[in-house]
Structures are given as structure tokens and as C-alpha cells.
Amino acid sequence: MSRIKTIARRTFLITSAAIVGGVAFGTYKYQQDAPNPLTAGKGEAALNPFVFIDQSGVTLIAPRAEMGQGVYTTWAALIAEELDVELADIRVLHGPPAKAYFNSAAMQDVLPGKGYDMSGFMHSLSQVIGGAGKFFDLQVTGGSTSMRDGFDRMRVAGATARETLKQAAAERLGVERASLSTKGGQVIAPDGTAITYSDLAEAAALIDPPKVTLRDPSQWRILGRTQPRVDMVAKVTGTAKYAIDTRVDGMRFATLRINPKLGGAMNSFDASEAEKMPGVDRVIDLGTGIAVVASNTWLAIQAAEAVEIDWGDAPYPPDTDGIFARIDKAFDSDANSAMRDDGDADTLPEGATLIEANYRAPFLAHATMEPMNAAAFYTGDALEVWAGNQSPTFTQAACAKAAGLENEAVRLHTPVMGGGFGRRVETDFSVYATRVAVAMKGIPVQVTWTREEDMRHDFYRSGALARFRGAVKDGKAVLMDGQISAARTTQQAVNRLAGMSPGGPDKGQVDGAFNQPYAIPNYRIRGYLADLEVPVGFWRSVSASFNGFFHDTFLDEMAHAAGRDPLEFRLELMREEHPASAGTLEAVREMSGWTGKTPDGVGRGVGYTYSFGTPVAQVIEVIDTADGIRINKAWIACDVGLALDPGNIEAQMIGGMIYGLSAACFGEITFYEGEVEQFNFPDYDVLRMHNTPVTEVRVLEANKYMGGVGEPGTPPAMPALGNALFDLTGTRARELPLSKTFDFVL
């Protein structure tokens, strides 16, 4: 029997379909021509499901990947809220690659607006333009977009499932649907008769889904409250399976060595010694490097190190100075963007004091705790891949191409990830595993990168330079004119994924600078793109990670030049422009007991950045100790518009800040003779328990729109720390990492 029943709501349609022993509910967006991820069985209609209800209970198919940010839990909560099941009773699986799961929020930032000033009209328009994501196969977990994307869709799916199950019960009991209620995975009749959803699932598959209305937030029992994470028990018992933990019968273990002169060729190699080493099956030529397959990962690593390789040169300047010279040279060409250009930024207002400063931020590695890896099994006409990835449609297509197969012949598993931070948007590690598997036809192979290989073959956060000039008069900012240059991150990353480069102004490159809610009458932010073949990519908060430092540090310098308290100086400029942002500054002022004065040996700094829809303010306190400078305390206030899970938001804010502070203190990737000079954590240190500040978080909900939470905590951490160090020492560091200027507690 072939059937799909639909209801329309806003821009998407809810559909239901029969499955074995039950019913599935899902959505289509706009046009229904996106190829379906589920192969339709004979006589069945296929759909892109979000909820399955069958004899084993309720299963959520989460089309977003879990990399630690809690998306499984909050998506499950959206369903559970309307479906009236307990969160703990929902099983969460990651969805297969499918165009219909595209990320509608990720494309919203194509509009020229600054985000914080979105009118209702612009908000609707950006939701519509979000549909363009479909054409880029954008099933991407990134840009802190998951909740903005799933908020309506998941709740409607849950509500539709609930009402359909109630209708099935009504027909069975011969009563009106309206007389029934739902609780704990059961439909309950007025006389107390309870029927489980599983019991109703098959009958529900035969019913037209009724129209639904979403519950008012005042009725919520799950959303808005901190929930236990659905992946927590597995992650504390060692039973959560990451891609690196994939184990299937007959599996062999491999590692690789790719040219450390990134993008360079392999001229020749000699594997004769390696091939004789214990446990080694084979050495595979990957063109730009080699892979070794063995009985054990460590034996593969030993053999890979024994291969003698003559590497070709990298296509970029061989050392850090030459690379930054390219970034600097871009200032001589036309600006790529001037996303903000208010008033007259060329003319110094009469009687104003001019301030000028240049800044520099280094290249950074992602350094996820789980090194890059993937497993693959190739049979000749099909490929199975296990890869912790943030972009399943791209990953599937890239693996299919590498194996010479149609996309449909590739089965991609996306397990939980040991950190993503943007690195796992890329497809390189999945493609390498595919190529090794193709060479090892009929044998499943896991390809694990060493930490050294991971750190030296990243798609780095680009190094960046900034030139700022500004002016203050009568204690106020009257001019800010910022120029920022970096490598072409968006163009590189989108080109790698989609095989095309977006032209025009790159809004992402100036994010965190052009869209800050300050009422400065003469205010211009221009972006410059450097021609540089160093591989760069998305790194937690992308360009806001350097723009936050540049823009907010310069504001701090302006405040001091104006003789003003730096927190009050910012607050005065943003109060009218964006009250929600002002609210975050007021919150950290109160939480930290900010007075603008600190005793000897103590320094405090404030930092603020609006990014990914969420304004975040931070105050950081540093103290002088005999062992060096310690980051003692931190206070964070964010305004997310609507806090679906406050405990998870707190965790993301603290985690984002620590990620930013680690980079601010120690993070730096440098180049010598074309190779990255950092190999492992001893060369790329991060904050640890003993040097992480005691932190307090406040989550506000005054903003008009729901913002992201995974990334916005990172950008303001860097200027807040630098500003605190200036308060402590009187030294203004304009270059990251700050360990170049200050001695921290190690």
C-alpha cells in the first residue's frame, strides 16, 4: 500500500508513512523533489523521518551530529515536549545523509543585515532564503544553527505524532480524540484506560495526520529546563562508540603519512624496510603520501615512520613571516567587503583624539581530543564508511567519488564525535579511509591518524592582521575604521565541500567586527582576502575568533584614551542600539561586582562579542602569583533569546570561553620550510584544570530571536583576557598568543 499523508505548516510539510510494526513522521521542505534517504520498500512511500514509533518504542532520527554540544538531547527534548514521552525513553540515532535534512539556519547569514537589528520582515525573509541551503546539500552541523533549525520542525513532528496516535486510539475506543490525553508514552482515555504508543503505531500509520497547534511555552515541562544528556551514561562508562572505536570482523588497522608541506606532491618513497616490519600487510601509495595497513594501529605507525619519502614543496611561502607578508599585502588591493560603512570614516572629526593600533592573530589548529580517523569497507560495488563528520551529504558524495561509486552505494555511519569545532566539516579523513579501503577490497580497514599527523594536517584557523583607527571626543567614540585581512576561509572551505567558490563580499570574514551593536557615528569595517594556499577552514566561531579580539581590544583602547571606564564606555554605545546586548554587559557588571578599580596584583577586563545570533559579555580576572599570572575568575552573560536547556547552554558558554582562552594564552601554529612546526600537545598547549578560572554564567532571554550557543562563548574570551592583562600590567598586547608577552601559570 502506497500512501503519504501530509499537512502544511509554515514552510514545511509533515508527512507520515507506514513502517514495519509502526509509523514514521517526518518533514519535507518546499519542494518534495529532494532524493529520499530511506529506500522505499515495495508498495511503501519513502520519507525523511524524524520520529519512528514502532514496537520497540520511540526513536528520534537526529539529522544533526553530536560532537559534544548536546544537540541529541535538545532535539529529543523538542520531540518529547509535544509527544508526551520521557526524554530518557527516546532513542536517538543520527540520520542518514539526505538533502531533505539540510540546515535551513546555516544559510540565513547570506542576508546583508547585522543580525542583531533584524526586523520581523527581515527575519521572515532570512528564513525563506534559508531554503537556498538545499541547493548546496547543506546538511552541515555548524554555525551554531542546530536549535534555530530544529525548533519548529521537531516540535511540529512531535505534536503531529501525538495527535495521530490519539486519533488511532479514538477510533479504537469509539470516542472523540479531544476527550483523550497523553502521558508517558501512552494515550489515556477518560475512564483511565491507557494504550501505549507502540500498541497504536500500526493503526496510526493508516490515519491522515491531523492539524496541530504547538503548545504555549507556559505549558512546557521539558523545554526551558536543564535536562540530563541522553549520551551521558555511555560517555562515562566507556561504551559510547566513536568512529575510532569502530570494530567489525576481520578489521585491519592503518595509519597514514601525508606530505607535511601541505598540498605538495610526493616525489618518491621507499617502503622496503617498512614492508618487512612485524604485522604489516601493505604500504599503499596515496599520491601525496602513504598509508600502512597492519594487524595493529601501533605497528602501522612504526612502519609508516620507517618509510623513506621525498616530499615536494608546498604551494605557499615556506615560513610564517612570508605567510604573514601575504596577508599584509592584501591590504594593498581593493577591499573584499565593507559590510559596515556608516557616516564618514575618512575624516577625523574636529577636536577628536586619534587612536591607531595594529593587531595580529596566529594560525590555529582545532586539536579535537579524538584525532582524525575513519573506517571503511569496500566490496567492489558498495562502500560502508564510519566517520565522525559534521557534513554527511558532502562526506557521502566525496567517498562515493573516491571509490568510483554512485552516492546511493555508500552507506555512511556518523557516530558521536570526540570534538568537532569545525574540523569535522571536512571530508579529507573520510576520503583517505575510502581510498585505503578500495586498495584493500573485501577487508574492513580503520585509518587512524597520529596526533602529529592531525595537528600538522589541519584546515587551520587563518592567521589574520588588523589595522584600526578610531577617534574619541568628550569621552565618546566618534570614529572607528577597521581593516581586517586573512586567508579566504569561506571560499576555500565551500570550494572543498561543494566544488564551487562563492564570490562577492565574504560576510563571514568580518563576522564579529562589522556587526557589533555600537552607535558610533562614523563606523567602517572592511575585509581583505589574501591569496594564500595554506589550508584554512572553519574553527569554532570562524572569523569572529580573531575579529572579536581585534574589535573589542580596540574599543578597550579607545575607552582608555577617552578616560572612561571600559565597561561603561561600551554600555553607553550599545544601550540604544541593542538593549539585549546592553543587558549582557549589565549582567557581568553586577555578577563580578565591577567597579572599574582593582587592587594591586589583580586585573580585570571586559570583553563583548555578538556572533551567531547571540551577544556574549565576559569579565575576566587575572592575578599575579609567584608562579606567573593566573586567570582567576570569569563571569559570562549571554542572551540566547530562548533558553531551551539552560544547563547545556552554561556548559557551552564555559567550554567556548575555555577554548578561546586556550588559544589566547598558548595557541599558535607556525611554519618552517613549508611544514607546521607544532606536532603534539607539548607544542600546542591548552588550559588544564589547574589554570582554568572559576566561572559563573548567566543566561538571559531578552533577545528577540533564538541565537546559537556552541560558538559565541569563544570570541569575547580573547579580548577580555587581554584587557584584564592590560589592567594588571599596563602592557597592551596586540598580538596573540598572549604568552608571547606575559608569563602565565603553566
Binding site: 561504551t239 559510547a240 575510532i244 570534538g419 577554548y659 600537545f681 584544570m689
Partner: protein, 154 residues
Amino acid sequence: MVTTLTVNGTSHQIDLPGDVPLLWVLRDAIGLTGTKYGCGVAACGACTVHIDGQAVRSCQVALGDVSGDITTIEGIGTPDAMAAIQDAWVTHQVAQCGFCQSGQIMMAAALLAQNPSPDDREIDETMSGNLCRCGTYPRIRAAIHTAAEQLRKA
């Protein structure tokens, strides 16, 4: 060469060279993947296991040098019967990506076995070799205090 190892109370015959690190024996030969590879140079703590109750970095212990019974994260508790320290991790909702947490828990468990009431400074000293890129440190510290309290009551 065959080596006999006792892991979580079970004996295993391992046919690998004696210089293979315990980490890769556990993960690839025995299939106990709860113990994680993070750096291979004892710089991150993700591979921490116990040998006769002592916390060690399993990436630095050669198979041929193992003398003692090994306990991994799978050996201290299961999803249906978690150890008190794992319960505390759940209470404080510590894990984000979770990849470092096996090592964090094994390090903290060894600490609590030796010091039933560690203060913040003692926790920091013991745990400073265990990296977490998600930044869960504040919750780890709180969970260790809670676990210590529970263990003292027991």
C-alpha cells in the same frame, strides 16, 4: 610471542610483539575501546588505566613490561551498574564530547582510592595532566568532590 594479560578480571592471550603499548593491545587486540588514544606521548591522559590500582598512561607501558592486573573504564562500572564516580559524573552532567572522560574518570578514581577527601589544590595537581578540549574542568572538579563524599558515606 604470546603474553598473558589480566584485564578487568579476565585473562587474555596476546600474540603481539612485547614493545606494543598496552593502549593498542587493549583497543585493537582485545577490543576494549573505552580507553582512548589522544596523543601517544603521555601528554593528554586520555589513555589512563589502572595497573594494580595505580593510574598509568597506557600509551607508555609496553606489553612486555606489564606486571599486574589491569583495570579499564569498562572494569569499574557498566551502564546498568555504574561506580560511584561514574554516578557523580552523571549527576554533574560532566561530559560534552566525552572523548577524554574515560581517562579523567580513571585518573580521579585512582586519586580517591589514595585520598578520600582531596581539596581543590590536590585535585588540580592530580588532574592537570588530563586534557579536555570541551572545557569540562569545572564540572569534573565538582564531580570528584561529590564522588568523594559518596565514597566516604559508603
